[in-house]
């Protein structure tokens, strides 16, 4: 929906004359005595530089934010003097306890310094020097096709909320923007990896995409965050970690190790967000439990999709011979057990007590004989 302001600045004589006056040297300086707090921040640790934590002072502080933002719906930065008719941007997420996590500022600074560039930080030349056997390269191309679908969904989950969140939570919005860049980097890295190996992309996954769409459609921020950052994040973290442990080439080792670091930040924010949310609203634990009761099946749609499971088995076993498939299946069973155990442990520790017994995921694995 378009917004048109009350006047057209081309036709605004008042602004024209004011600009003319200022340009001729007659300054208003009305901003000079702004009713804001004067501070002088400095890095606490010179090696780290000036961080958002260093700027967490006085009226500029994120610690002093009220839980519900009632006074600023504009784009004015927190701590600035609000005056005149600032626009209402229509933010719909205005409660700190819905979005915040104690580690947000740290994760934002960490995400920036630990950034990497797939174009130059991965040893692409090693793949050309020592190509993988065709079946393994095909499996890697399929897995990378699947991982792009996952990264695209993760990007969509985060970006869907960024604009809706009140600007007062600027460190959180900044962290989510860094997370979007992480997801974009994964789309790029997995795409390039698939194309660099001689196979190109393989098949899109109906099963996984249906599951990802359900995760994308969470209608509140706390449910979207637990779905995207904790459920999907745990799956991706474990998958990257697993792939780094069985990487068939030095390129893949570095690719998945770097992707693992990014996914671990996503999970750290997600569990921090659940913990913060439940600390302020303990009664909402049952709401998140109910949501996860209906949504955890999506993890099975991801892990169980043939476009993910089969390449994983082939890469784990080292080929498509019967004995290799058997060995690969055993290794992937370990990966699935580990993924679900770690996800449930994170939920419990974040404040979703009883998740391990309430979740149907362990019984599902048992029924599978995993």
């Amino acid at each position: 929906m378009a917004f048109y302001l009350e006047k057209d600045y081309f036709e605004d004589l008042e602004l024209f004359h004011l600009t003319e006056r200022v340009m001729s040297g007659d300054l208003t300086l009305h901003w000079y005595e702004a009713k804001t707090e004067r501070v002088r921040v400095a890095p606490r640790q010179p090696a780290r530089g000036l961080t958002y934590e260093d700027c967490n002072v006085g009226s500029y502080s994120y610690d002093r934010l009220p839980d519900l933002i009632r006074t600023n719906y504009s784009m004015a930065p927190r701590g600035a003097e609000l005056w005149g008719k600032l626009p209402d941007l229509g933010y719909t997420v205005n409660r700190k306890s819905d979005v915040w996590a104690d580690n947000v500022a740290v994760l934002y600074e960490e995400a920036k310094t630990r950034r990497w560039a797939p174009a130059v930080d991965l040893p692409w030349e090693t793949l050309a020097r020592a190509p993988l056997p065709e079946i393994l390269e095909a499996a890697m191309a399929q897995l990378c096709t699947f991982l792009q679908e996952c990264a695209t969904a993760a990007l969509g989950i985060t970006s869907h909320w960024v604009y809706a969140i009140n600007q007062e939570f600027l460190e959180l919005k900044s962290y989510l923007s860094a997370q979007i860049l992480d997801h974009a980097r994964h789309v790029e890295a997995f795409r390039k990896r698939a194309l660099a190996g001689g196979q190109g992309l393989k098949r899109a996954s109906v099963c996984a995409e249906q599951a990802l769409k359900e995760l994308l459609s969470a209608d509140t921020y706390p449910t979207s965050s637990v779905a995207g950052n904790v459920l999907l994040g745990s799956f991706l973290l474990e998958l990257y970690r697993y792939m780094a442990a069985i990487a068939p080439s030095p390129l893949d080792l570095r690719l998945f190790r770097l992707a693992m670091q990014d996914a671990a930040r996503m999970v750290a924010y997600g569990t921090g967000n659940v913990r913060y949310h439940l600390r302020h609203h303990p009664q909402r634990a049952s709401f998140l439990h109910d949501y996860l009761d209906t949504t955890e099946h999506c993890l099975l749609g991801l892990a169980g999709s043939p476009e993910c499971l089969e390449p994983l088995i082939l890469l784990s076993g080292g080929g498509s011979e019967a004995s290799q498939v058997q060995r690969g299946s055993r290794a992937v069973a370990h990966f699935l057990r580990q993924t679900i155990a770690d996800y449930l442990e994170r939920c419990e520790h974040a404040g979703l007590s009883g998740r391990s017994t309430r979740s149907q995921l362990p019984q599902y694995l048992q029924r599978l004989g995993v």
Binding site: A47, V106, T113, R241, M260, V267, A268, R346
Partner: protein, 157 residues
């Protein structure tokens, strides 16, 4: 001069190498974690506490116990596993896939991650590249490793 492993001197040497190679670790980003290293044989254990801050390893020290509620995690393994990892690092200039810390801990047979809080344990994943490259610095050291026996055990002198 040969640097014995396990020893405090070994970890101090890695700490010094990390400081010398600051540009490499600055490129990898902030690393903020405190974790333990536990190296065990049937009759003894060596325990070291490593504290990383910003771009450097700020402190290494030998400790008698670990308080898992006060640190992020402990990497524990048989002396034989640590020796094999360091031998691999020496041969390849850095750990290969089978001998990376991630692989050794992922399958949980050679090295184990001990922790109290999974959020703190996840720092092992968040800072994986820095931690691995810290250990990979051992390729530049003349390390005196305990002798391996035919059964894969190690003999310390």
């Amino acid at each position: 001069m040969k640097i014995p492993f396990p020893s405090l001197t070994f970890f101090q040497a890695l700490q010094a190498l990390m400081r010398q190679d600051e540009a490499r670790f600055r490129r990898l980003g902030f690393v903020d974690t405190t974790f333990g290293i536990r190296i065990v044989t049937t009759d003894r254990a060596w325990q070291y506490l490593l504290t990383f801050e910003v771009f450097e390893c700020r402190e290494v020290r030998e400790v008698s116990t670990f308080d898992l509620t006060a640190i992020d995690f402990v990497l524990q393994g048989d002396l034989a596993a640590w020796v094999e990892m360091l031998d691999n690092i020496r041969q390849h200039g850095g750990a290969d896939v089978s001998h990376s810390l991630n692989t050794l801990t992922h399958f949980g047979e050679r090295l184990t991650l001990l922790y109290d809080d999974p959020d703190n344990r996840d720092k092992f994943f968040r800072f994986q590249e820095s931690i691995q490259e810290f250990f990979d610095l051992a390729s530049a050291l003349d390390v005196e490793l305990p002798m391996s026996t035919a059964a894969g055990a190690v003999v310390t002198t």
